[in-house]
C-alpha cells in the first residue's frame, strides 16, 4: 500500500490496544453501578476507571483509527506514497507517549477528573499534558493530509479530488477546528492551576470552551464511518454510489455545522443566557440534515446494488445484497442504532425537552448507542476491509467476523435501551454506586442488571474481533487485489465549490464568531468571579 502499510497497521494496533482494556473497564463500571457484586467495588476505582475509559474511548481510540484510515485513504486515492511520512511517525509516537502519560496518573488515582475535566477540580498535570500531546500528534496528521492534498491538486489541475480524499480532508479539518476549544481550555485555564502557577480557574469559561469541542468531536468520530458508507460500501455490495455530489455536500455540511452547536450541551448551565442557547439549538437542527442525507444515499446505494444483483420488487433487493461481506453487514446493522440514537439526539437538542434527560443515564445511553452502535461497528468493518491490504493475507474466519458484528449489535442494544429508560426515571449518570435499598433506586435494579448482560456480550465480541485480526495477520501471504473505491452511478465531470475547502472554512469561521463570540467574550467584560482550583488529592489551599 504505497509503503504506508506499517504506518497504518501501527495506528490500528495502537487503537485496539487502547480499545480492548477500555471495554473491560466499561464492563467493570457497569457492574459497580448495578446491584450485582463487582470486583474492586470502590468509588475511587470507579471514578479513575471512568476517566480512563472516557479518555481512551473519546480521545485516543477514534483519533488513531481516523489517522490510520486517513493515511490509507491518502496514499490509495492519490495513488502515491505519503509525502512527509517521517512526520506521520512523529505524530504517531506523540499520540502513544501522550496516552501513556495521561493514563499512568489516572491509574494511580491522581487524576480522576473524568475525561470532561470538570474544573475547578484539578488532577495531575501529567494527565492534561498527555491529552495535549495526543492532540498535537493528531495535528501532524491534519497537516500531512492537507499538504498531500494540496500537492496532488497542484500536479493535477482541473481534476476533481476523489470523494474519499475530499471526505478525509474534511474530517481532518473538522478535527483541527474542534480540538481548539478543549486545547485552549487545557493550556490556558487548567494547566496553569495544575502546575501551581495560578490558583483560580474560571469554571464558566472553561465549560464554554469545552462545549466547543464536545459536539464537534462527535462528528469527528462519525465521519470515518460515513466515509466507509460512501466510498467502500457501494463497491463491497456490488453496486455503485448513488450520488458523488450528495456525498460531498454532506461532508461540507458536517464541517460547517458541527461546531457552532456545542452550547446545546450547556442548556442547563447558569453561565449562558437563553439567546445563544436558542441560536445554537436551531443550528443543531441544521447538523441533523447531512445525516439524513447520508441515510438516503446509503439506502439508495444499497438498492442499486441489490437490483444489480438480481433483486426484484419493493423489498426483494434487500435480500439480494451480499450480507456475508462484513462491511455490508456492519453498515446495514449500523443504520438501526443510528436511527434510534438520532431520534434520541433530537430530544437532547430540543431547547426545553433537554431538561427531562440532561445528565441522566439517557445521555450516556444516547452517545454509547451512536458511538458504539453506529460508528465503532463500522470501524470494525473498516479494519476487516483494510486488513488484507495491510497484511498481504486474506481475512480468515469471515464467519466469526460476522458473528462478532452481530454480538456487538445486540450487545449495544441490550446495554443502552435499559439506560434510556432509567434515565427517564431520573437516574443520574457518572455515579459510582447506588443504594438499591432506596425505593427510588430499587425500581431501576432490573434494568441496570439487564444492561450489564449487554456489556458482557460486547466484551465477548471484542475478544472475537482480536482473534479474527490476529489469525488474519499470520500464515501464508496471498494475492490481494488493490483497494477499490466506489464510483458514482453517474460520476460527475466537475464538482465546482466541492473540490476544496477555502469557502467552507470561511463560512465556518463566520458561524463560530457569530455563535461563540459573545458566549466566550462575555467572560472578559462581565464581572464574574473565578473560584480557586480544587485539587483532587490534596487539601485545598485556603
Amino acid at each position: 500500500m504505497y509503503r504506508a502499510s506499517r504506518l497504518v497497521i501501527c495506528h490500528f494496533w495502537a487503537a485496539l490496544l487502547c480499545f480492548a482494556p477500555a471495554i473491560v473497564l466499561g464492563v467493570g463500571q457497569m457492574l459497580m453501578r448495578s446491584p450485582l457484586p463487582a470486583p474492586l467495588d470502590d468509588p475511587n476505582v470507579y471514578y479513575a476507571s471512568v476517566t480512563a475509559h472516557g479518555s481512551l474511548m473519546a480521545y485516543v481510540f477514534p483519533t488513531l483509527v481516523a489517522m490510520g484510515f486517513g493515511y490509507a485513504i491518502t496514499v490509495t486515492t492519490l495513488a502515491r506514497p505519503l509525502k512527509g511520512q517521517v512526520w506521520a511517525w512523529v505524530g504517531f509516537w506523540l499520540c502513544v507517549i501522550g496516552t501513556a502519560m495521561a493514563i499512568v496518573p489516572v491509574a494511580m488515582g491522581r487524576s480522576s477528573v473524568l475525561y470532561t475535566f470538570y474544573p475547578p477540580l484539578i488532577g495531575s498535570p501529567w494527565y492534561y499534558l498527555g491529552i495535549v500531546l495526543v492532540v498535537l500528534g493528531s495535528y501532524c496528521w491534519i497537516a500531512l493530509t492537507l499538504v498531500n492534498l494540496r500537492s496532488w491538486k497542484r500536479e493535477n489541475p482541473g481534476k476533481s479530488v476523489p470523494l474519499a480524499m475530499f471526505a478525509i480532508a474534511a474530517t481532518a479539518l473538522l478535527w483541527g477546528w474542534t480540538a481548539l476549544g478543549a486545547t485552549v481550555e487545557l493550556v490556558f485555564l487548567i494547566l496553569p492551576v495544575a502546575l501551581g502557577w495560578t490558583h483560580t480557574i474560571h469554571a464558566g469559561l472553561a465549560r464554554t470552551l469545552f462545549s466547543w469541542t464536545l459536539h464537534g468531536i462527535v462528528y469527528f468520530w462519525l465521519l470515518p464511518a460515513y466515509i466507509a458508507l460512501y466510498t467502500l460500501l457501494p463497491q463491497a455490495a456490488g453496486g455503485r454510489l448513488y450520488s458523488d455530489t450528495m456525498g460531498r455536500i454532506a461532508f461540507v455540511l458536517f464541517l460547517v455545522f458541527s461546531l457552532p452547536v456545542g452550547l446545546h450541551h450547556l442548556f442547563m448551565d447558569p453561565e449562558q443566557g437563553s439567546g445563544f442557547k436558542f441560536v445554537q439549538s436551531v443550528l443543531t437542527f441544521m447538523v441533523a440534515l447531512p445525516t439524513l442525507l447520508t441515510v438516503f444515499s446509503t439506502a439508495a446505494t444499497l438498492e442499486v446494488a441489490g437490483r444489480v444483483r438480481g433483486g426484484r420488487g419493493l423489498f426483494g433487493w434487500i435480500r439480494a445484497l451480499p450480507w456475508g461481506e462484513p462491511l455490508v453487514l456492519a453498515c446495514g446493522l449500523a443504520l438501526v442504532p443510528l436511527g434510534l440514537g438520532g431520534f434520541g439526539g433530537l430530544v437532547n437538542m430540543s431547547y426545553a425537552m433537554n431538561a427531562m434527560v440532561h445528565n441522566t443515564s439517557w445521555v450516556t445511553a444516547h452517545f454509547h448507542l451512536i458511538f458504539a452502535g453506529a460508528v465503532v461497528i463500522v470501524y470494525f468493518a473498516i479494519l476487516y476491509h483494510l486488513w488484507p491490504q495491510l497484511t498481504g493475507r486474506e481475512l480468515k474466519a469471515k464467519r466469526l467476523a460476522r458473528v462478532q458484528l452481530w454480538l456487538w449489535f445486540w450487545g449495544i442494544l441490550v446495554t443502552t435501551v435499559p439506560w434510556h429508560i432509567t434515565g427517564l426515571m431520573g437516574q443520574p449518570r457518572r455515579m459510582a454506586t447506588f443504594d438499591y435499598t432506596d425505593p427510588f433506586v430499587a425500581k431501576m435494579g432490573f434494568l441496570v442488571t439487564l444492561s450489564v448482560i449487554g456489556g458482557l456480550v460486547m466484551l465477548s465480541s471484542v475478544l472475537l474481533l482480536l482473534y479474527v485480526l490476529v489469525r488474519s495477520s499470520v500464515g501464508a501471504s496471498a494475492h490481494v487485489p488493490p483497494l477499490k473505491y466506489a464510483l458514482a452511478v453517474n460520476p460527475p465531470a466537475q464538482v465546482p465549490l466541492l473540490n476544496g475547502f477555502g469557502l467552507w472554512n470561511a463560512i465556518l469561521l463566520a458561524l463560530i464568531v457569530l455563535s461563540y463570540g459573545y458566549p466566550i467574550g462575555q467572560f472578559f467584560f462581565l464581572r464574574t468571579h473565578a473560584p480557586p482550583g480544587y485539587s483532587l488529592t490534596e487539601e485545598p489551599r485556603r
Binding site: G204, R240, P270, M286, T360, G426
Partner: protein
Amino acid sequence: MDETQDTAPGGLVAEPVVVRTETRWLLIMAGMLGIMLAVVVLTGVFQALHPLSHIEIVDPTTLHLSGEFVESNLGSAVEPDGAVTVRMIAHQYMFTPQCVTVPVGTLVRFRLTSPDVTHGFIIADTNANAMIVPGFVSEITTRFDRLGAYEMPCHEFCGFGHHGMWARVVVVPRDHFPTLRPDERMTCVPR
C-alpha cells in the same frame, strides 16, 4: 482505478432521476426538521419552556459571609405573592439544607449556587434539572403536583464523594405548610 468497473456498470439510474429523488428527499427532511423546530420555538414562547435563562453572578468565596446564601437564609421561604423560594448551597459532598419542604401545587423557585466545584441537581418527574457552577446562581421554577418525598441527587461529578450527595424534597399538602414570616426559613432537616 479501472478495476472499479467490474461490479456494476455506470448509468444504472439516469442522472435526472438521481437529482429528482435527492431533491425530493432533501425537501421532505428539511420540512420535517422545520416542523420540529417550529414545535420547539412555539412551546418555548407560548408555554415559557426555557432552560436556565439568566446570568446571575455571585462571589463563590464569600457566600458564607454575607448576602442571600448565608446559612440563616437557606431553606424554603414564602414570597408575598404566595410562591415559595428554596435556597440551597451545593458543596462537596452535600446540599445544605439536605431536606426541604414545599407545598403541593405551588410555584417553587429553586435558587442554588456552589462555593467550591461544579455540581448539579435533578428532581425526577419534574422539569427541575440544572448545573450549579461556582460563580453563578442557578434558578429554576417548577411545581410539584404529587405529594411525597422526591430524591434530589447531585448529577455532576464533583469529586470522590459525589455518589453520596443526595438531598430530598418533601412535598406536603398546602394546609400542612406553615405560614412563614417574611424572614422565616423552613427545612425538614432533623434537629
